[in-house]
């Protein structure tokens, strides 16, 4: 900790430090020093911060800025950088794109929401909103009146030009880069397309059947959750987490509840912890089953889709008994869960985890062992470990590339340190490995559920909380392992009952950011296969 501080002070003499007593150092640096610091952070042996956990745009009140969270997979240390742009009218910050792949999308997001221009970013377009959107919605002084941004029903003007900014002799110059050449054969896959798993838009440049370039357009389901949360009380905000990645509804909610609880210093009853872990694992299984179903369907094998859905319904029944919903359960609350487990829960779950291993071999027989499937997934869309880390890919997709990043193992939360399970990793990094990691994780989840069921303690299911929850001033970050990767929640509290800024770190945005990388040179059919194996959920990308 102190060495880290000293080293950073060495590079940036003006840096201000805080949180020195915790295990994560916070350093505030000026934009001028930041560009130089990036290089050191990525390459210096003592730092090696190769994984950009998150890049959070912030309206600090007077100034706009960015909070970076870096993690070093080598040195297992973490640092938080805070940087405020100098002027509010023309905020400019250096870009981190040369060192971290995922910074590309994150910075575009910040530009979209806050209007901060990143110098050196190759493609400074809006990520979520329309090109002709007026204003930057997450700024505190944003005017949301519908007269300024009405619901436009004319097609979005889609230019082939991507602006970029570079610094020359102290002056900022704008350059226009052509995204697609004039004679390129560009096909729009999406927003309405059966294989994009929602409303995602790929602009695909084709050479015959071969994909030359993919440009991802997000935002067709951008619902502005983060902005809405800023005017809601903490218990109200947790409702939105379910609707981000609806297949990991429990886990997303877990992250936000845990973050608020940690900030409040609230102790959760043991039983609630167990219930949460149980539900998390069940929803992981149902999410992976859905991945199996969609992968099969996208590759044209329609029958296995129905098998997976048949078994998924059994989990939804279990959810329905204890919570209230099938898909979105609204089950966790701050302090625990909203009601106790259904009396049949243990019996039904035990039956289910006995049943599922008997049908999984059938799944593998009908699909995994198929020659056509193997040919279409093995060696397709290879993501190396370095690429995965640089692009912030987490979860099963990263573990298939050999990066052991399961938060349940490496940063145990809830009761995961009390159960035994294996972290599934593979080394190929192709579609087949991503698929197999998920299928194997189902077995691990079953093992976890089995252990939790036997240990399930009696007691309270929810801790008592005050009617009005106010978090003490500060910044809080909590992440959990969802079915798709690391889902993080960042809260900046200013001591009120509303969060000043609430940012969700979606696991699916990094997943979709590597689509271009993985598909280049492949066929259109590979694009579908890769998309299905990455298993992104679009509302989670767009928030």
């Amino acid at each position: 900790m102190s060495t880290l501080k000293a080293q950073i002070q060495n590079i940036c003499p003006q840096a201000a430090f805080s949180h020195e007593d915790t295990d994560t150092l916070h350093a505030e640096v000026s934009p001028k020093e930041l560009a130089g610091l990036f290089k050191h952070l990525k390459t210096d042996k003592t730092f090696l911060f190769d994984y950009m956990e998150d890049l959070i745009g912030m309206d600090f009140g007077e100034k706009l800025g960015v909070i970076y969270r870096f993690y070093s997979t080598e040195n297992k240390q973490r640092i938080v950088l805070i940087c405020q742009a100098e002027s509010r009218e023309k905020p400019e910050l250096p870009s981190a794109t040369p060192w971290w792949g995922i910074a590309n999308f994150y910075e575009r997001e910040v530009y979209d929401f806050f209007g901060i221009i990143f110098i050196g970013h190759p493609d400074m377009r809006r990520l979520f909103l329309r090109n002709d959107w007026v204003g930057y919605p997450l700024r505190k002084d944003y005017d949301a009146s519908p007269e300024i941004n009405p619901v436009r029903l004319d097609a979005e003007p889609m230019d082939d030009i991507a602006p970029s900014y570079s610094e020359k002799d102290g002056k900022i110059e704008e350059e226009d880069n052509l995204r697609f050449q004039k004679d390129e054969y560009v096909v729009n896959i999406g927003p309405q397309h059966p294989a994009t798993h929602g409303v995602l838009h790929f602009q695909v440049s084709l050479e015959g059947e071969t994909v030359k370039k993919v440009d991802v357009h997000c935002g067709y389901i951008h619902r502005g959750i983060e902005k809405m949360c800023e005017s809601l009380t903490y218990p109200q905000t947790i409702g939105y987490t379910d609707r981000l990645d609806y297949l990991s509804a429990h886990q997303n909610r877990h992250a936000l509840c845990a973050c608020i609880e940690e900030a409040m210093g609230l102790e959760i009853p043991r039983r609630a912890q167990y219930i949460r872990a149980l539900m998390d694992e069940l929803s992981r299984i149902q999410s992976h089953l859905l991945m199996y179903a969609c992968y099969c369907m996208d590759l044209g094998a329609l029958t296995p889709f129905f098998y997976a859905f048949r078994d998924r319904e059994k989990i939804l029944n279990i959810f329905e008994d204890s919570g209230a919903g099938r898909l979105i359960q609204n089950y966790y609350v701050i302090g625990g869960v909203s009601r106790d487990l259904h009396p049949d829960f243990v019996k039904k779950t035990a039956e289910f985890i006995k049943y599922l291993p008997t049908v999984l071999p059938e799944y593998h027989k009908v699909f995994t062992g198929n020659v056509i499937f193997q040919q279409r997934s093995k060696g397709i869309g290879i993501l190396t470990r370095e690429q995965a880390i640089s692009n912030g890919v987490t979860g099963p997709a990263a573990r298939a590339s050999g990066w052991a990043c399961d938060l349940r193992k490496h940063q145990p939360y809830s009761v995961y340190n009390e159960v035994e399970f294996n972290e599934i990793t593979r080394t190929g990094g192709d579609c087949f490995d991503r698929y197999m990691v998920r299928m194997d994780e189902i077995h691990e989840s079953i093992a976890i559920i089995d252990q939790l069921l036997t240990k399930l303690p009696e007691g309270d299911y929810c801790a008592k909380t005050k009617p009005v929850i106010k978090l003490p001033e500060g910044r809080y970050f909590k992440s959990v392992e969802t079915a798709r990767g690391e889902f993080g929640v960042f809260i900046e509290s200013r001591g009120e009952k509303y969060p000043w800024r609430l940012k969700f770190h979606p696991p699916c945005l990094p997943l979709v950011s590597v689509v271009d990388l993985l598909t280049r040179g492949g066929k259109i059919a590979d694009l579908i296969s890769i998309g299905a194996s990455l298993d992104y959920v679009v509302p989670d990308i767009d928030r």
């Binding site: 003007p157 067709y220 609806y246």
Partner: protein, 232 residues
């Protein structure tokens, strides 16, 4: 006068809600010969409602669920989900529609062949649902498209979806193929196809439509050379 009641196999007439609405549709009675033909055509149409594979968010998963083995909407003849809007009969707007998606949705609707139906699935599609206060969410798909059936829920349960589809069937069974205009949308709601070099006349076309008129006024003067990129 006795009103002929649309019959749906499996659920008696009295167990449906909103029967008054159905009776309202049939108030003026039907012709004798034409009525028989109408009934035949409506029978065909109502039993062969092919949905478009379109979903934006959570409700889409429940839409997949009713296609799956447990709920199996193939029983009713909704089986063939078409990915191309040209061949679909009903667009199930399953999920939130945001500002960026609105023109795409309208385009999709216009790409569908008549007769076409719109089902708003879930609270988001009905009113914006939990996201109604957002800066980027359309408050109800009925602001853009003529909706036939609203199915509430967040997300909608599969049973509710099936019930909603049966309501749609009942509605179709009371349509008039002959006599009445077979095209459902008034001309003024149709968005012209935007192709390179063609400047659409917005204000004229959308005079009556609340949102569209607004859009026409606020239309930016950006060049339309790329606007013709197809939505698909």
């Amino acid at each position: 006068m006795e009103i002929k009641k649309p019959k749906i196999k499996g659920l008696p007439y009295n167990e449906f809600k909103d029967n008054e609405y159905i009776e309202e549709l049939r108030r003026n009675g039907v012709g004798v010969i034409v009525g028989v033909l109408d009934e035949l055509i409506n029978w065909g149409r109502s039993n062969s409602v092919w949905p478009l594979t379109f979903a934006t968010s959570c409700c889409g998963i429940e839409f997949m669920s009713i296609g799956a083995a447990r709920y199996d909407f193939a029983r009713f003849g909704f089986e063939v989900t078409r990915a191309s809007p040209r061949q679909a009969d009903v667009i199930m707007v399953a999920g939130t529609i945001v500002t960026k998606m609105a023109p795409v949705l309208l385009r999709l609707y216009e790409q569908m062949a008549d007769p076409k139906y719109v089902v708003a699935v879930g609270n988001c599609a009905i009113s914006g649902g939990p996201f109604t206060n957002s800066y980027h969410v359309v408050q109800g798909v009925d602001k853009i498209l003529p909706v036939d059936v609203f199915i509430p829920g967040c997300p909608t349960r599969p049973e509710a979806l099936l019930y909603g589809m049966m309501q749609l069937q009942r509605k179709i069974k009371l349509e008039h193929f002959f006599g009445e205009v077979n095209k459902k949308e008034p001309k003024s709601h149709q968005l012209p196809a935007i192709y390179p070099g063609e400047e659409p006349v917005f204000a004229e076309k959308y005079k009556q439509h609340p949102i569209l008129a607004n859009a026409a006024q606020n239309r930016p003067q950006a060049d339309t050379k790329q606007a013709g990129t197809k939505a698909e």
